[in-house]
Structure formats: C-alpha cells, structure tokens
C-alpha cells in the first residue's frame, strides 16, 4: 500500500469525524482493555513473566546472528529451506519464485504483517497468481480492497452491515445471493466458501509469531484455525517472518506465549498454537512437501544497537493499540501504513523514514499507557521522543516551530524577564476575558480555541503575589 502517513493530520481529522468508523471503534474500546485486565488479574505471575519476556527478547537481540544461524541449521536438517532477504523486493521475488516452482495458481494466506509490509498480494496478482486471505478479518478487507487497521483484528473498522454488504457483493459467483443479517450466518458463509479455497490451494503462506532456534520450528497462532489449514493442506508452505522473531528454546517460547494471548485479546491461550518443524515426514499422512522460511530484514538490523533497539522486542500483540487513546480515537488507517498505534508510531519512521512518517511519533500525548501494558516492556514514549529529537536536530520540524521553541527556552532561562512577562500576560489575558472568566478566541492560539475556551488567569502571577507578601489562604 502506498503510505499516507504524511497526511496524518488530514487522515486523523477525517477519522474523528467519520461517524461510521467511530461506531465501529466503539465495539473495541472497552472490550480489549477489560478482557486484558481480567486475564492479567487471573495470573499472579504476570508482571514477573513480563520481566522474563523482556529479558528473553533482549538476550536474543544481543545474539541475533547466532540465533538466526541456529534456526536456519535446524530448518535445513528437517528438510526445509531458509531464504534471507534484505528488502521487501527481494522477499517478493523469492516468494514468487517458490510459487512458480510449485506451479501455483492460488495461494491461501494466514495473517502476516510482513506480507502487508512487502505488499505480496498485489505482487502475486500482478504475476497471475491469486492470493486468498483466510483470516476472516483479512478476508473481509481483501474483499473491500483495504489494508488492515489493527494488527490482530484487521477489520475492526468494519461493522456487521459492512460485512453483509461485502459478502452479498462478492459471493454471487458461489451461488450466495442472500444478504445475511446475523453474524453467525456470515461466519458460516465465509467458512463454507473458504473451505474450498483451503483445499484447492497450491501454496499456503503464513506469518510466524515466533521462530524457535532450538528446533527450527515456526510458531503460528490463530483463533480460527486458518493458520493450520493454510500450512497443512497445500503442497508448499511458505513462512514470512522478520529477523527479530527469533526465540531460543521451546521453554522461552512458552513464556512468551503466556504473555501473548493475554495481552492481545485477554484469552489465556489462543485457540490454535502450532509449532511447525519442516515439511511432511516419511510416513506422515498429511502436511506440505516443501517448507520455506522467508526471513526479512527491511531495515531492522540497522536498528540494533541504536535508540530503537528495544522496539525489536515487539511480539505484535497489539496491547499498545488497544490501550492508546490516540488509536482509540482514530483507528488504524489514519496512521497511513501497515503498523499503527504506539508501536506503529515508532516502527513506521524506522522503516519508511522520518520525512514520510514524522507525524506519527508526534501525535502522542505521552500518556504512557502503551508502555504500561506492553508485555515486553518496550519504552515506546521514550522512542517517540527520540524521533522528535531527530526531527528537531535534523530540522525536519517547521522553522517557525523551532524558532519559537528556542525563543521560549531562552526566555525561560532569563527569570527576571520571564517573571515580568508572565505577570503582564496574566493581567492582559484577564482583561481580555473581562468578567466572563474565559476566552473563546485568542490570536495565535487557534489550535486551542478551535474547540475549547481558554480559562482566564486569575490576573496576577503567583510569584508576583509571593514577592509582594500576599498570602491568600493564611489564617483561614
């Protein structure tokens, strides 16, 4: 998808004014937060597990080269292949080559953010191969021609009516012409249609939640079971994963799995958690004959050892999205690319550059709720601030903004002048407000007064009163 992060201001304004989107978002706002809260409440060890999860991932990053090599060696031992790709273009070509070798006409897909990142669906279609999303949310947005708006609930911006409209529009070729009014019926229709797609597919492409170095296993987690049908039925299974998905052992993976579902949906464990290790074994009654892992860098190795190193601990649970007041106000599309919410605000400039994505780390009140819920304890606000520092130093922010800030900072360091100006401002604003106690319009304060009044100051500054030995409250 062509990024539109540059247009974040326009996107977000449209989003807050989009009644339909706001209606859809209202379905997710309370639910995810409450469910995670309940799940955390039921596991006394949760905070200690967050520490362990963070430490496991931190250890992996420090030794990422070793773990990648170990993983590759185990995959190859089990009869699979690993493909290392520096860029999205390389990954696309690699996947296309594998699909061509498999004579693929149709490809089923489990949900993969890497797949979105490299725009694999458009590329396959352009090359005569039909990709079919099987996660219900991804299937819905594929029909709508839209990108996902949430990491784990891609169609969260769609209402049931939207889904019913999409199905009746696109399912006629399957003999389905009735518009369905119940969620149950919609799910059943999708199940029926996609079942045949699963069976017919030549290649299945999934993402990976984790890559286990100890065994060369790929972990795919779903609630629907589409990840399993995608990987087991076709003759070829391709996994797309970014380099930092490595985890050392099965035990380490278990610790992370205990954090993942609870953080994401408030479930104790997702319905289907599958460890896949290579292709079909001699004697196996089902399974793919070819097993490929396409590992993508796309700028991540360059982030190691720098200010954004800790971001690579992310396990894509979306807890930060679910708890972010900005995401909850505008949804995922306003961010303009694949990754949204707080992790998207740090990831997107990393992968696309600060010029394209500069708005994202700026559009935060630094409330810190993301960091408070991140199972990997990633210091997201700090990293957003680092982006702001790069913008300021790199002069990406508007010259007027930088000038005003420098001027203000100078004034703040000249207390005598600052105090006089504060006292003046207090008096002036008070006079302007008259007896109303507030101002509805104020030059240079358009950003504030467009939707808020500005309460009037009391009229004199605290320090002026203190210096004059005025002490309201004494003797009361």
């Amino acid at each position: 998808m062509e990024p539109t992060s540059r247009a974040f201001k326009e996107n977000s304004r449209a989003a807050v004014n989009d009644a339909h989107l706001q209606q859809a978002l209202s379905n997710m706002r309370v639910g995810f937060v409450d469910k995670r809260g309940k799940a955390v409440g039921k596991l006394p060890e949760f905070e200690a597990l967050r520490d362990e999860g963070r430490d496991i991932k931190a250890h992996v990053l420090e030794n990422l080269d070793f773990y990648l090599e170990e993983f590759e060696a185990r995959v190859v031992e089990k009869g699979g292949r690993v493909h290392w790709c520096q860029t999205g273009a390389e990954a696309r070509e690699t996947i296309l080559t594998i699909c061509r070798e498999a004579g693929a006409k149709t490809v089923t897909k489990g949900k993969s953010m890497i797949g979105e990142e490299i725009e694999i669906n458009d590329f396959l279609e352009a090359n005569g191969i039909e990709p079919i999303e099987t996660d219900l949310g991804e299937y819905i947005i594929q029909l709508a021609g839209e990108p996902p708006s949430h990491i784990i609930a891609p169609a969260i911006h769609k209402t049931q009516d939207d889904v019913a409209d999409l199905f009746v529009e696109h399912h006629a070729p399957y003999g389905k012409t009735e518009r369905l009014n119940e969620a149950r019926a919609l799910v059943d229709e999708a199940r029926q249609i996609l079942r045949q797609k699963f069976v017919d597919a030549d290649v299945g492409i999934t993402g990976a939640n984790f890559l286990v170095a100890e065994t060369g296993s790929v972990v795919v987690v779903t609630n629907e079971g589409n990840g399993d049908l995608t990987q087991t039925l076709p003759r070829t299974h391709i996994v797309t994963a970014s380099i930092e998905k490595l985890v050392p052992t099965l035990e380490d993976t278990t610790t992370l799995l205990r954090l993942l579902a609870r953080s994401a949906t408030g479930q104790e464990f997702s319905t289907y958690t599958t460890f896949s290790t290579g292709p079909k074994r001699p004697g196996d009654l089902d399974g793919p004959e070819a097993f490929h892992v396409v590992i993508l860098d796309n700028g991540r190795s360059a982030a190691l050892g720098g200010e954004f190193h800790d971001l690579l601990r992310c396990i894509r649970c979306a807890a930060c999205l679910n708890h972010c007041p900005v995401y909850r106000a505008i949804g995922g599309h306003a961010y303009g690319w694949v990754y949204s919410g707080p992790m998207g605000a740090v990831y997107t400039p990393l992968l696309l550059g600060i010029e394209e994505a500069g708005h994202l780390p700026n559009a935060s009140s630094f409330c810190g709720r993301c960091e408070a819920v991140c199972p990997m304890r990633i210091p997201l606000p700090r990293m957003m601030r680092h982006w702001r520092e790069r913008e300021f130093e790199g002069r990406y922010s508007a010259p007027a903004v930088r000038r005003n800030l420098r001027l203000w900072a100078w004034l703040v360091r000249h207390p005598a002048l600052y105090n006089r100006m504060t006292a003046l401002a207090a008096r002036a604003l008070r006079l302007l407000a008259g007896r109303r106690g507030r101002l509805s319009r104020l030059p240079l304060a358009g950003g504030w007064t467009v939707s808020r009044d500005l309460p009037a100051p009391e009229g004199r500054s605290f320090k002026a009163l203190w210096a004059a030995d005025v002490r309201p409250g004494r003797g009361r």
Partner: protein, 227 residues
C-alpha cells in the same frame, strides 16, 4: 541471496558493536539451547493430580470445550455414540489410525460406523487421541505422525478427543519434557484450546470459524496418586 545472508549477519554484528561471535560465546549459547531451562512457571497448575484434572476440565469448559469424565475403557464407545446422538449427528466418525485408540471396545457399539484414516474434508466428526492435556489452560497437545494426521484436528465440524487421565499434566513445560523424551519434534505440535472461533465481526465471538465448531474431550480413568 547468500550475499543477503552475509550482509544481514554482518550488519547485525556491526550494529551490536562487535564482530561475529567467537567460539567461546557460541559454545555458551549452544549450552543455553541444550539446557532449555524453563522460566517462571505459574503456580496455578502445580497441584496434586486429581486437582489438575479438575483444573483441566474447568479451563477447557471456560473456552466452550465440553468435557466428560469416564471411569473405564468400556465407557468410551458409548460416550462417543451418545455425543453424536445428542447433537443429532449421523453415527459415523473418521478415527485416527492411532493405536492408542485400538484398545477401546468399539465393537460394543455396532451402529457406530468408524473409518480409520484421514479425512478429505467431508467427515462431520473426527475422533482422535492426544499426546497430552495441559491443565494450565485446558489445552490439548497433539502431535502429527504416521498414525495421527493433523487434518483430523481441523477439517471436521466436530472433534472428539479421547484422553487418558494420566495424560493430563499441569504445564506446558511438562509437555515439552515428555515430548523430548519421546523423540524429536514432529512436523506439527498442535496446542488446541477450545473450538475454532472468531470475533472479527463487531468483536462478538462466533464459534466454528474454519476449524471445528465443537470440541469434546472424554477423559478416561482416574487421577494418579503419585504423579
């Protein structure tokens, strides 16, 4: 593409402020892998076996799995037949070729038509065993193999699992220990926690998205005293 491999590995090392790891470091990391030490294991399932069985059932039922406790092997065929009748399902199942299922007196229910093998997707009911039950989350641990096709866990609408009481353990870590002692990783280890579901339509949960609509577990036997 080998250039990409070399480039990625080189960038990683450089960004971490070092060259490739030396042999001492690699040895230490390999030892960590071989040691596969568990991390913090929640206390929840660290219970006497009879309580683990109860926890398993409670956790499984909390995610819409149905669970039945049976005393004896001879109860199993009847339990399966009754389940089909209760849900108005035809008296036909596809059953994994798993030898662990051979020992039940299926002949006691001659009207129950059993086909041992794989499914092409037309079967309504699959009967399988499992490698283990994990009490912590009410999950089944299932391995792929010559007698245990994975697709039986996913394609049929209804999945009945025959689990022996002694197969129920507390935690995932115990499952990994058992698996390692049984041999190498199979192609698939499936952890199944309830029937298939989705909340992609307005965040309301619907069962039976792509996998089974129903998961039924019959647990045969009683708690082990000295587990």
């Amino acid at each position: 593409m080998n250039d990409s491999r070399a480039a990625i590995l080189a960038t990683i090392a450089k960004r971490l402020g070092r060259g490739p790891l030396d042999e001492a470091a690699r040895k230490s990391l390999r030892a960590r892998l071989r040691g596969h030490a568990p991390g913090l294991i929640p206390a929840r399932a660290q219970l006497p076996h009879d309580e683990q069985l109860a926890l398993f059932q409670e956790q499984a039922e909390a995610v819409a799995t149905t669970v039945e406790r049976l005393d004896a092997n001879s109860d199993v065929p009847g339990a399966v037949a009754d389940y089909l009748a209760r849900h108005n399902l035809p008296s036909e199942v596809v059953m994994a070729p798993d030898p662990s299922l051979d020992g039940y007196p299926w002949g006691d229910k001659p009207t129950l038509q059993i086909r041992r093998g794989v499914t092409a997707g037309d079967d309504l009911v699959a009967v399988t065993g499992a490698f283990a039950g994990i009490a912590e989350t009410g999950s089944l641990m299932m391995l792929s193999g010559p007698d245990t096709p994975t697709t039986l866990n996913y394609l049929p609408d209804n999945h009945i699992v025959v689990l022996r009481a002694e197969q129920v353990m507390g935690t995932y870590e115990e499952g990994w220990i058992l698996l390692r002692s049984a041999g190498a990783m199979p192609r698939n280890v499936n952890f199944v926690t309830g029937p298939s579901r989705t909340a992609d339509i307005e965040q309301k949960t619907q069962l039976g998205a792509h996998g089974p609509r129903r998961l039924h577990i019959v647990i045969v036997g009683s708690a082990q005293e000295d587990k």
